[in-house]
Amino acid sequence: MAKHRRRLPLVLVVVVVLAATGVLTSLRHSTNPSTLPSGLTASLDAESTALYCTGLASGTGPPGRVTFYNTSDASRSLSLSIVSQVGTTYTSTIELAAHAAQSIQPSVLDSGTNFGVAVQISGGGVVGNETAGNNRAEVPCQSTGVRHWYATGFDTLVGSSAYLSLYNPTGTAAVLNATIFTGTGFSAPQSFQGLSIPAHTQTQINLGGQVVNTANVGVGIDVLRGSLVIVGVQDSNGEVSFDQGAVSPLKAAWFPNVTTVNHATAQIRVANPNAAPAQVTVNVTLSKYTVAPQTLTVSPYSTSLVNITPNSAIPAAGYASLTLRSSEPVVTSLATGQGTWTALSAPAAPGKVFLIRDFTGRGFDAATVTNTSSRTISVSITTLKDKETKSLTVTGEKVGGDTTESVLALLPASATTQSQTFIVSSATPSLVVGLTLPSKPNGVLVVVPLNGG
């Protein structure tokens, strides 16, 4: 009889199915994708791309210049637009052959003292790099503006000047608020609030005008409307350096090549833009030495630093690889120098693809790849030669977890980094490339590699 037939408990099934669905849909949270894809490979098939460079000046010393390099196998047409801080503009078109490079010096083409450069490219694969200070400072051009920007480590001490170079690449007037952090706290200068940068214009913010005679100044920029390309420029007793900055504070940072040699100075400068103190730990990996972690507490809304060189706990033994961890998201930079000057460089952000090119013609004192993950990854290196197609591809080189390897060590024995262009890539975005230019003492000129913009 039907009524005696044993049936599956419907209510139980319904509840189980609903619960399973609820758990399943709750376990995986959907996030709103907010970042544009970036990287050299992504831009190769682009309909059009753009590069924006700022921080170029015509001041003391050799003026800054921009070098464009076409990584693609086809020629590219570049629409160049230079604008100075006084509003004068220069436009031109450049045809860039495959694997060709071309430099421009804005101070020659346009009047003014500092410049913003915008290049619109039909297609993708073109990268740009700024050099200044007698080829001792480098910073990559950007392919997009940002809405948030952070940097720290600027000095406004006597003999030094620090300013932010801002270029508005869009047709929208940008509006920003700037906050300044120092060792004694933070300030939001009235003149830096609601600051409007008209469309396609270049301007500068002089930090020394608001924070006088202060070391280790941090900056946070919040672009309320539109977007901006920003570069921090530090002039330390005549030594110019660029700080690319970061789009957000982070809890981890990597500095692959930090010098520990005698007569050099190296500091990790930290700004804490949070309301809570940040407990910072810097782990130092230095050849065969075991170095105790360096710790630091950074008060809310203030800056502080860790001395790496000289440091009695860290032997002078060449390049150290530093990993910084913090209890709160912080802004970091590396300040290296000698005697009376320091040069700033931003930490390298982990990524999948990097371009290593000797834009200065001086070669590199150190070029390393660091695996920031705990697992071994496979790294591919492609060598590009000007006016030729790819000549060498090295694939499958293993880099262990949390280790740093020299790029040359991954290449055939005869390879050099001088006048060469390499594309270093991995399948996972856990790669960091560290570059230092030749200097005396060694390792005090740190540059940031191109990551494709």
């Binding site: 399943l24 959907s30 970042t35 753009a50 503006g145 929208t172």
Partner: protein, 1084 residues
């Protein structure tokens, strides 16, 4: 050897005035049982008793007790005076025995080996009315009678049987059993002795039997309050106090250890609930009685332990065996809810007196006849009325059971609804959801027949059937198209509620139907759809209950096909509509109408059919003739596709976008959580805690239903589950491009929830009666409470007068859409599909793209075919920008004449304290991409909307001037006609390119580049004062297709008997007078 009958000693306990003492004694004297002795115990100051007894029973012994010790103690005292008797017959002093009563009871005792025998009790004044035929009890000691109140004695109870309680009045007890049990318990001075004695007797293994042939008339002076008396030890305790404490004593001592603990725990919970209810109703006496009973029990703990020890020695039956002799459930709780449902709260908790009963609460205690005052006699307080049928018959239920009350409730709710929608009648409707202003009646018909529509960059696909439905509906409002959305906003939910009532018809009572309908109206979805202006979903809300009912009917879901369909008739014949084919055609036409407005309706129909099939695996129907559900569903879909031929054509040519006809994927990051889906919420209404009430009530309903109701409920539950699962997957975008409109799915879920609630009410009315206490009663209690609570937010929603429909919209607030240059232009609208005020195509999950020409969206782009065709150029450009592959989006969009890009995050602006709207953010990468474009500038940025202007805009129709490649707009936004420049090149952003032609001075100009999607024309430089006009040149295939479809609708409609009726028109003969048209239950 003489054979003598066993000796029986009748003990009459009398107290006070003893109004029936003489009659009682006389009836015992008149017994035909020869070995009957009579002992009268005068309890207290009753000096008149010997004389009165002597007058009617001179041989009787009279024992006078100096003080009133209560009935039990008096009996125990009497027993001490007697030796050698086989039976004791304990009698009240207000009974009258039939002459053969003792004889029959003794015979029954021997025949059945019973320890206790009870007679049938009838009313003292009217022996035709039954009082008791034995009683039973639940595990909590609550006594239930076996007869209905006022039941007439037709001999229907004259069957000798075992009972659990022998009610006081006249009780025959075997003397050895009485001795073994040590008589009545001295702790129980009065009220409850009968239950206690019988309980202990059964624990000791004795049977209790009712012998209905022995008839006793009982005056029940205690029940009528005729004799106010008091006993020693009762102090100021009311009868209620005594009853509760003695009842508790019996429960605390009558079970084994473990059962006692468990039972007392349950009883404590019930008592706490009852105390709460009593206190809520200021019934302090009741609350005091309950609390006092526990307090008294604690005081008597020594006596309790002693009783337990004594009973443990006697115990023969285990607890499980004893439970089998009792009734299941908690009688008091059941009675409460039955009364609550039937007669309201006040009556249930005992404030209002029953109409046909005498109020007997808290009467002074009748000491002398305590045995008569068993728990059973105060039914209003302590027991379930076992006479539901009798009560229904004799006492009209007060809670929505009469037509008048039901009509009154419906009218009140309807009036409240109209009050709640007062602002929707005439005030401005904002441009949100699908509230774009409709074109005129004639223009709407034209959209249906049009060869070209302006969606995207233009399309030549057939017009969507929704235009036909709107135009047809516009006929009934005399072309006042603006009235249609208002009608839908105001009446969709009420019409849906009516449909819900129809869906539940014949399955449940009218009261349950009304509650189900109200539950449907109270579902958050309807309110949220009104507040979001989702007219398309509201049409589904209105029509879906009707569709579901017909599907159930055609699939022969249990009880939905009240009778077989009529015999098959030829198409067009009168009565064809009531045949199965006709009913199926009605369903198809109904589905087609709703699907034309919201194509996802087809998906929910599929869910219903699949749900029924799946549910039959769990709960098979008795007999289901629908053996081919797949074929049935296929037939429905195919026929609907035929009725919506233009849309079907669009779907077939749409390729990978074909599935988008059912809906566009929303952003998973802004989709309602699963918890909100469970509450049927996609919006703000119902997102708080009370949103759980209706789903919880529905779940309770599911577990309460039995029988056919359960079969229907199982199907409904399975459909609801499938709907939720699909909705959850769709909202997370786990099904790819198959993203049926989530709100349409929620409409089906709402139908299912409301159906369950209606069925649940039916279960409360019928199914709950037949089961004992347990989870069902608790579930019922919660269900009733949740249903009652769920109606409260409904009232609050009436406050705004427009169900929170915004008074303004983001789109209307945009004043900068019109470019400064002349010429026609398009606006590109980007946003979540639930936010945009017009329909378009999907670019990515959470991002829909749609265009409007020359300003805000209007009636011409109300429906968008799934085939994007040439408009893919817009989607591809956007996808390039979002992938970081272009920084020249403005340049890519300029050929389409797009002057501005509007990115909407919400449909209405956020006005603090005045208006709130849900934020459905577009993918963040879109904003990043648009900010990166070198040729777009951000003109406006608010949390609700961002507007970008295209610096390379050159109008929909543009031309180059001689010697220049710069494009400038020509013509105007209202006309594609105007002066041209000789030697110029004209580019029109109109697709399909081959459908348009440029006439210069009346002569057609050939396209110069056939490989572009934009038609390009060159104006000959020698043309003097050229004047041009761009016009559409296309064979009206779409119009013919629409006409064919319309004709088909007409023919099928004629098939519902009109062909037969109009036969004379074609044959010239007079119509025959035919038999009355069959009209059955299945008639829609």
């Amino acid at each position: 050897m003489d054979s003598r009958a066993p000796a029986v000693v009748a003990v009459i306990v009398t107290t006070g005035s003893g109004p029936g003492l003489e009659a009682t004694a006389a009836s015992l004297v008149a017994q035909d049982y020869e070995e009957l002795s009579l002992l009268v115990v005068a309890n207290g100051d009753v000096s008149h008793v010997p004389e009165r007894v002597a007058a009617v029973a001179p041989n009787a012994f009279v024992r006078v007790l100096e003080e009133n010790r209560g009935f039990g103690a008096a009996c125990n005292e009497a027993v001490l005076m007697v030796e050698g008797s086989a039976f004791f017959l304990f009698c009240h002093d207000d009974v009258r025995l039939e002459p053969d009563a003792v004889q029959l009871m003794v015979e029954a005792a021997y025949r059945t080996n019973a320890g206790i025998v009870t007679p049938k009790f009838v009313a003292y004044d009217d022996p035709l009315v039954l009082l008791h035929a034995g009683q039973t009890s639940d595990r909590f000691g609550v006594v239930r009678d076996r007869v209905e109140l006022g039941e007439i004695d037709h001999g229907q109870q004259d069957l000798e049987r075992d009972v659990f309680v022998a009610p006081g009045g006249v009780t025959l007890v075997r003397s050895d059993l009485f001795s073994t049990l040590r008589g009545f318990d001295p702790l129980i001075t009065l009220l409850g002795e009968d239950l206690d004695l019988c309980w202990r007797a059964q624990v000791a293994g004795a049977r209790i039997v009712v012998t209905p042939l022995a008839k006793v008339a009982h005056r029940e002076t205690i029940a009528t309050g005729e004799r106010p008396v008091a006993a020693i030890g009762t102090r100021r305790a009311s009868r209620t106090d005594l009853r509760r404490r003695h009842q508790l004593l019996v429960v605390a001592t009558g079970w084994g250890r473990r059962t006692t603990v468990w039972t007392l725990m349950m009883l404590m919970v019930l008592d706490v609930v009852e105390v709460g209810i009593a206190l809520a109703g200021r019934d302090t006496d009741r609350a005091g009685a309950i609390v006092g009973s526990w307090r008294w029990l604690l005081k008597q703990r020594k006596g309790v332990r002693q009783r337990r020890r004594q009973l443990h020695v006697l115990r023969v039956l285990s607890d499980a065996e004893l439970r089998r002799l009792q009734v299941g459930g908690a009688s008091r709780l059941k009675h409460f809810f039955v009364t609550l449902l039937r007669e309201g709260y006040d009556r249930a908790r005992g404030i209002l007196p029953p109409e046909e009963e005498v109020e007997i609460f808290d009467d002074p205690v009748d000491v002398g006849v305590g045995f008569a005052a068993a728990f059973s006699e105060d039914e209003e307080f302590d027991e379930i009325a076992q006479s539901e049928l009798l009560e229904l018959r004799s006492r009209p239920s007060r809670f929505m059971t009469t037509f008048r009350s039901q009509a009154a409730v419906v009218v009140v709710v309807a009036v409240l609804w109209l009050i709640g929608s007062r602002d929707l009648v005439a005030t401005h409707l904002p441009l949100v959801g699908r509230l774009a202003p409709l074109d005129s009646w004639w223009s709407t018909w034209r959209h249906y027949f049009a060869s070209w529509s302006p969606n995207g960059v233009g399309t030549g696909t057939p017009g969507m059937p929704g235009y036909g439905v709107l135009a047809f509906a516009g006929t009934f409002v005399f072309g006042r198209m603006g009235v249609l959305p208002r009608l839908v906003l105001i009446f969709a939910v009420p019409v849906g509620a009516v449909g819900m009532g129809r869906l539940l018809k014949d399955r449940v009572s009218n009261r349950a139907r009304i509650i189900g309908a109200f539950a449907y109206a109270a579902m958050p979805l309807g309110f949220n759809m009104i507040s979001q202006g989702r007219v398309d979903v509201l049409v589904v809300v209105a029509g879906l209950p009707f569709i579901v009912r017909r599907i159930f009917q055609l699939m022969d879901v249990a009880g939905f096909r009240a009778r077989p369909f009529d015999e098959p008739l030829p198409f067009g014949h009168r009565g064809w509509r009531t045949t199965e084919a006709g009913q199926r055609m009605v369903l198809i036409m109904l589905m087609a109408l709703v699907t034309a407005m919201a194509p996802a309706t087809l998906v929910v129909v599929g869910l219903v059919v699949v749900g029924v099939v799946v549910a039959r695996y769990f709960e098979p129907d008795h007999d289901n003739s629908s053996r081919h559900p797949g074929r049935f569903l296929g037939a429905l879909v195919v026929n609907v596709a035929i009725f919506l031929l233009p849309m079907t054509f669009d779907v077939f040519v749409a390729g990978r976008r074909a599935l988008e006809v059912f809906g566009l994927p929303g952003g998973p990051w802004s989709a309602p959580s699963f918890m909100l889906l469970l509450r049927d919420v996609d919006g703000t209404f119902g997102s708080s805690w009370w949103g759980w009430l209706l789903p919880v009530a529905a779940l309770f309903s599911l577990v309460l239903c039995k029988g056919d109701r359960r079969r229907v409920a199982s199907k409904v539950a399975v459909i609801a589950t499938l709907t939720l699962v699909l909705g959850a997957l769709v909202s997370r975008h786990w099904l790819g491009s198959f993203s049926p409109d989530l709100d349409v799915l929620l409409a089906l879920y709402a139908v299912m929830l409301a159906s369950l609630i209606g069925l649940g009410v039916g279960a409360l009315e019928h199914d709950l009666r037949d089961v004992g206490f347990g989870w069902r009663q608790l579930t019922a209690a919660l269900a009733v409470a949740t249903m009652a609570l769920a109606s409260l937010p409904l009232l609050a929603s009436f406050g705004s007068g427009r169900f929170d429909l915004p008074s303004t919209s983001v789109a209307e607030s945009l004043s900068a859409l019109s470019p400064t240059t002349a010429g026609g232009y398009r606006v590109l609208w980007l946003g979540d599909p639930s936010v945009l005020p017009t329909s378009g195509w999907a670019v990515a999950p959470g991002l829909e793209a749609a265009t409007s020409m020359n300003g805000l969206p209007g009636g011409a782009t109300l429906f968008t075919p799934p085939d994007s065709g040439t408009s893919d150029v817009i989607m591809e450009a956007l996808q390039s920008a979002m992938a970081g592959r272009t920084v020249r989006l403005g340049e890519l969009l300029a050929p389409a004449g797009i002057s501005a890009i509007v990115v909407m995050n919400s449909a209405a602006p956020q006005l603090a304290g005045a208006e709130s709207a849900l934020l459905h953010r577009t993918p963040g990468v879109l904003t990043s991409a648009l900010n990166n474009q070198s040729d777009l500038s951000l003109d406006l940025q608010t949390p609700s909307v961002e507007v970008y202007s295209n610096s390379l805009f050159h109008g929909i129709v543009a031309a180059t001037s001689t010697g220049s490649t710069k494009l400038t707009p020509i013509f105007t936004s209202t006309s594609n006609t105007g002066p041209l420049t000789a030697g110029s090149t004209v580019i029109a952003g109109l697709a399909p390119a081959d459908a348009f032609a440029l006439d210069v001075n009346g002569k057609a100009v050939a396209r110069t580049n056939p490989n572009t999607w934009t038609p390009i024309y060159s104006v000959v430089s020698s043309t003097p004062s050229p004047s041009g006009a761009i016009s559409l040149h296309q064979f009206p295939l779409n119009g013919l297709l629409a006409l064919f479809t319309l004709g088909m609708w007409g023919i099928v409609w004629l098939g519902f008997g009109w062909i037969h009726r109009l036969e004379w028109l074609f044959t010239g003969r007079r119509r025959r007078v035919s038999a009355p048209e069959p009209k059955g239950e299945n008639d829609g």
